[in-house]
């Protein structure tokens, strides 16, 4: 690691520059040594206490850096003139002079147990503000430094709300002097180490008659309208509302352990309304009354918030001492809170009320019992008369009942006979029904059989139909054939007639030839034979 080399070089820091050059030329490799010197320079710049300028250094000695922000650091310092320990806010650059004077003027005008006091300001070579050091001595005489609320978490919900109440008192004092903090968050509220009191610090972004920058705040704790107040004609009301929101954001962080809004440079997201708080960081439920107070502190509509920081302090004090808050308007709720505040008086009152009630109830009960007794006597006599009447009525009814029972016996006998008869008839009907069912089943079977036969017949009919159509087609074809045969026969007969006619002519000719032949044979027998073998050639 670098520390060995850096420490070695740090030991040489007081050496003259020529000696360093000699080291560079003679010992380590140049590149490594150069880097080591860079490290040394940086660490030296980091560790050394800065100068306060000639006048500042003459009076103050910086002891320890307590906190560091973007543009300034807070140091614990000793005031050699007054021999006391103070806190010094030292600005980083020369442009801090205006800011230092403005912040000191703004916060220096506020007198409150809950605002860190400004003791002095210097705007010379280096600009710094001298402030009261938030610290206390413990029983051993050791000085304990106060820490920001962001690092000193409250031990209970009660303590957290008490810190917010104290911060509200400090803010109220600043508002009375037209100073508006605009940057309330747990980092800017210091908590004393022993008495655990809250003190507001860092008025660097405050708005006042001494002027202020256009915008300001811490991401996560800024009111929704934080970028809208400059140049507004209702700026004072809105600046008060921003600080009221800041108190709500501070309370929210103490209870929930986180900022109410997103901590991001995405300003739009950081300006959203925070979610409702149901439980503390330890998982304990947040009382409904406190939830309502928080909701009003963090209302996105600035006009719906508390009108002043004093109202907030009073409201929180009421919550802490179980007195009615502005939300507790009901008599029952107020009575319950009063009982919570005065438990002994409430308990005594409750006992006395209970005893008085019991005596009143007993007296009322005795009178009521006497009245009840008289009513009962009267009612008893009436009931006796009723009883005599009822006895006579009972005798009459008993006689009627005997007569009715006799009739009932006769009717029961008749009914039994009737039931037997009905049973016989029922059996008869059942037999008939069974026989009919059997017949029905048989008829049904026959029906099924007939339906089968009918289907067969239908099939046969279809076959016969198709056969008939086939025969009809054959018949039509045969009839055409017969007609053609008849015509052929007529034609053949005609041809035969022609042939017969020709045959007759040929026969005639033949006979003529035969006759001629006979004639010739008779004239020349050899020539006649030749003609006889080829008669047609002759034609």
């Amino acid at each position: 690691m670098t520390s060995g080399l850096v420490e070695r070089l740090a030991a040489l820091a007081s050496e003259p520059r020529e000696r360093w050059r000699a080291l560079l030329e003679d010992e380590l490799d140049p590149e490594t040594l150069q880097q080591a010197l860079l490290w040394l320079t940086v660490e030296h710049a980091t560790d050394a206490a800065p100068s306060l300028g000639a006048a500042g250094d003459a009076r103050y000695t910086l002891v320890e850096e307590l906190d560091r922000g973007a543009t300034a650091a807070v140091w614990q310092a000793e005031d050699r003139v007054l021999e006391r320990v103070v806190a010094i806010k030292l600005f980083d650059d020369a442009s801090g002079a205006d800011r230092a004077i403005r912040e000191a003027r703004v916060a220096g005008d506020i007198v409150s147990d809950h605002v860190v006091r400004i003791l002095d300001v210097h705007d010379g070579e280096r600009s710094f503000i001298v402030m009261e050091l938030v610290a206390e001595f413990d029983e051993g005489g050791i000085r304990r430094l106060g820490r920001p609320a962001s690092e000193t978490r409250p031990s209970s919900l009660h303590e957290a709300i008490d810190w917010v109440r104290q911060a509200a008192l400090g803010i109220h004092e600043s508002h009375l002097r037209n100073v508006f903090h605009r940057d309330l968050n747990p980092r800017n509220v210091l908590i004393t180490p022993i008495s655990r009191r809250a003190q507001i610090t860092d008025f660097g972004l405050a708005a006042s008659r001494h002027g202020h920058c256009l915008w300001g705040g811490t991401p996560g704790y800024m009111a929704p309208e934080a970028l809208a107040v400059a140049g507004d004609e209702n700026a004072r009301d809105r600046l008060v509302a921003i600080d009221i929101w800041g108190l709500g954001a501070f309370a929210y962080d103490l209870i929930a352990g986180r900022a109410p809004c997103a901590r991001t440079i995405e300003w739009e997201a950081a300006l959203e309304a925070p979610p409702a708080l149901q439980r503390t960081a330890n998982g304990e439920p947040v009382p409904a009354a406190l939830r309502r107070v928080l909701a009003r502190l963090l209302d996105p509509e600035s006009l719906k918030r508390y009108r002043s920081a004093r109202d907030v302090a009073d409201e929180l004090a009421a919550f802490l001492t179980s007195r009615p808050t502005s939300f507790d308007r009901g008599r029952m709720r107020r009575a319950r809170l009063w009982s919570k505040r005065n438990p002994r008086v409430a308990a005594t009152g409750l006992v006395a009320l209970a005893l008085t009630g019991m005596v009143a109830v007993a007296s009322a009960s005795l009178a009521s019992l006497r009245d009840d007794h008289q009513l009962l006597v009267t009612e008893l006599e009436a009931r006796r008369g009723e009883r005599t009447q009822l006895r006579r009525e009972a005798t009459r009814i008993r006689d009627e009942l005997a007569t009715t029972e006799t009739e009932l016996a006769a009717r029961t006998t008749e009914l039994a006979a009737l039931e037997r008869s009905l049973a016989d008839q029922r059996q008869l009907y059942l037999d008939v029904l069974a026989a009919k069912e059997t017949a029905l089943q048989r008829a049904s079977a026959e029906r099924h059989l007939l339906l089968g036969q009918l289907e067969d017949l239908d099939d046969d009919r279809l076959v016969a139909e198709s056969t008939r159509r086939l025969y009809e087609r054959f018949w039509a074809a045969s009839r055409g054939e017969a007609e053609r045969a008849t015509r052929e026969r007529v034609r053949i007969q005609a041809e035969r007639d022609v042939a017969r006619t020709e045959l007759a002519a040929i026969t005639v000719k033949l006979e003529a030839v035969q006759r001629e032949l006979a004639h010739v044979q008779s004239a020349a027998p050899h020539e006649a034979d030749a003609v006889a073998d080829h008669p047609l050639q002759t034609d």
């Binding site: 690691m1 670098t2 080399l5 520059r17 020529e18 360093w20 050059r21 560079l24 590149e31 490594t32 150069q34 880097q35 080591a36 010197l37 860079l38 490290w39 320079t41 940086v42 660490e43 710049a45 980091t46 560091r68 922000g69 973007a70 543009t71 980083d92 650059d93 962001s150 690092e151 940057d183 968050n185 980092r187 800017n188 860092d202 660097g204 972004l205 920058c213 256009l214 915008w215 300001g216 705040g217 811490t218 991401p219 996560g220 929704p224 309208e225 970028l227 809208a228 107040v229 400059a230 140049g231 507004d232 901590r263 440079i265 300003w267 739009e268 300006l271």
Partner: protein, 191 residues
């Protein structure tokens, strides 16, 4: 004896290095409260992230015109805020001049560069140009990342389950490492 011209070079280099130290430290410090300039600075950082600066860098020097582009971006974002309710009239807002804007752009670029270097440390690697590397780059990277996310040193100690003193040491080591590296990037060599 040191020659006067050599002393002048040393002084210039020392001033440059001091500027680097201040810039890196200011960028690394826990940023509690934001003033108008801080809010505008964060908006300029978003302008750089939007890619507009990369585009402008490709243009020749006379045509770059950072001022109008940044101002247009800022007014657009602020106008967007105004849509969500009663907002400040933009005429009352004094926008930064070109020099301030250039400074803010450089700071925004520095933040991007720091973010990149911290990502490297989170992966356990140091820049090879550093001859005297960190012993625990992973722890340093995580601590710096949480610091940049706005957590206090106590919150970082709780998150990383480390002592407050160790967190302070890691943050100091990491900040110094980034300063030295930034110095090397700018060609700073001592003496």
């Amino acid at each position: 004896m040191i020659q006067p011209e050599q002393r002048a070079v040393d002084d210039t280099m020392a001033a440059q290095f001091e500027r680097i130290i201040r810039r890196v430290k200011r960028s690394m410090n826990y940023r509690g409260s934001y003033s108008t300039q801080d809010i505008l600075g964060s908006l300029v950082a978003r302008w750089v992230q939007s890619g507009e600066w990369q585009r402008l860098k490709t243009l020749p020097e006379p045509a770059r015109q950072i001022g109008p582009s940044v101002r247009r971006f800022l007014l657009d974002r602020l106008d967007h805020l105004r849509i969500r309710g009663h907002r400040i009239e933009l005429e009352t807002l004094e926008l930064p001049d070109d020099n301030t804007l250039t400074e803010q752009v450089e700071l925004a670029e520095l933040r991007c560069w720091l973010d990149l270097q911290i990502t490297g440390l989170e992966q356990g690697t140091c820049d090879p140009r550093i001859k005297l590397p960190l012993s625990q780059p992973l722890e340093v990277g995580r601590a710096l990342r949480l610091l940049l996310a706005g957590q206090t040193q106590r919150q970082i100690a709780d998150t990383l389950e480390m002592s407050l003193g160790l967190v302070n040491k890691r943050i100091a080591e990491g900040t110094n490492y980034l300063i030295v590296l930034q110095g090397l990037e700018h060609g700073i060599t001592l003496p």
